[in-house]
Symmetry: C2
Amino acid sequence: MSQDRLDARRRQILAGARTCFARHGYEGATVRLLEQETGLSRGAIFHHFRDKDSLFLAVAEDDAAAMVETVARDGLVQVMRDLLAGATSPETAGWLGTQLEVSRRLRTDPAFASRWAARAEAIAAATRDRLARQREAGVLRDDVPVAVLAQFLELAYDGLVLQLAMGRPADHLGPVLDLVEAAVRKTP
Amino acid sequence: MSQDRLDARRRQILAGARTCFARHGYEGATVRLLEQETGLSRGAIFHHFRDKDSLFLAVAEDDAAAMVETVARDGLVQVMRDLLAGATSPETAGWLGTQLEVSRRLRTDPAFASRWAARAEAIAAATRDRLARQREAGVLRDDVPVAVLAQFLELAYDGLVLQLAMGRPADHLGPVLDLVEAAVRKTP
């Protein structure tokens, strides 16, 4: 296969695996279910990824990289607004499922937790960097350290992930995100 | 057995089961592990609770009732401060584990979700009621509906649960909760 075909195949596996992990959880995503969701044989899947654990990590890393990029460009509040806007789409369901599986494995699997620490820190660092630039631009409140504002936004993000994943009514979440954003901005 | 002994036995089972569900998750908490954690035989456990599902529901309902009581008395911000203060205690680990198991089953088990809806609504109602009283007392900001402020606090609570459960560094969480509280109060 050409490199292009290999890359396309890899993306196909990741997309199917994301859906599968979101729907069945890490433990529940059997090799048979992974075959069904990706439309590929186990041979083809594990030609690209050593085992289920490597596949899950690749899905989660993909999501973390996309998040670092959006945070650096538009900020964590925008990531939250995008999540909310797409709350009922299959992509968002996959994203939320992966995030919750990551958080569950962080809690129950110390080896995973230590491997994941660098990714979590990359997202936190992107959030802090963007806030620092906003402070220089004079739009951020300046009576609270950037590290505290960054963790406040991450707390709101984690809360949003959990609420959307639980299917809680989302009626007020738009105005709630306005409150979150106003809490880190300079009052005019 | 006397009613007192029966009640004490029931509490003993709930305490052990809470630890067990927190440590191993709902699926991972086998009957054998439940026997180990409670120090009782399966016969004794299932004399009090019909099955594992009823036992889990009883643990979660206990936690929800405690939360409604604290929210009504001290508010959701105080619940968060208590959680943070006891972040490393075994009781808090049990609480966080139960909360996350509830949120996982809400996502993956529609029958559980419909049975749980009334409990979630009781906590939300206690939060709204307390905020309404605070608004009457003039300490709450009055430019945002109580329903929005309530969901903002619930978002922060869910975020805190997820962050503590993931073992994220808690250094800034005290000042973060100050920000959360300030965001719902009237600015002096």
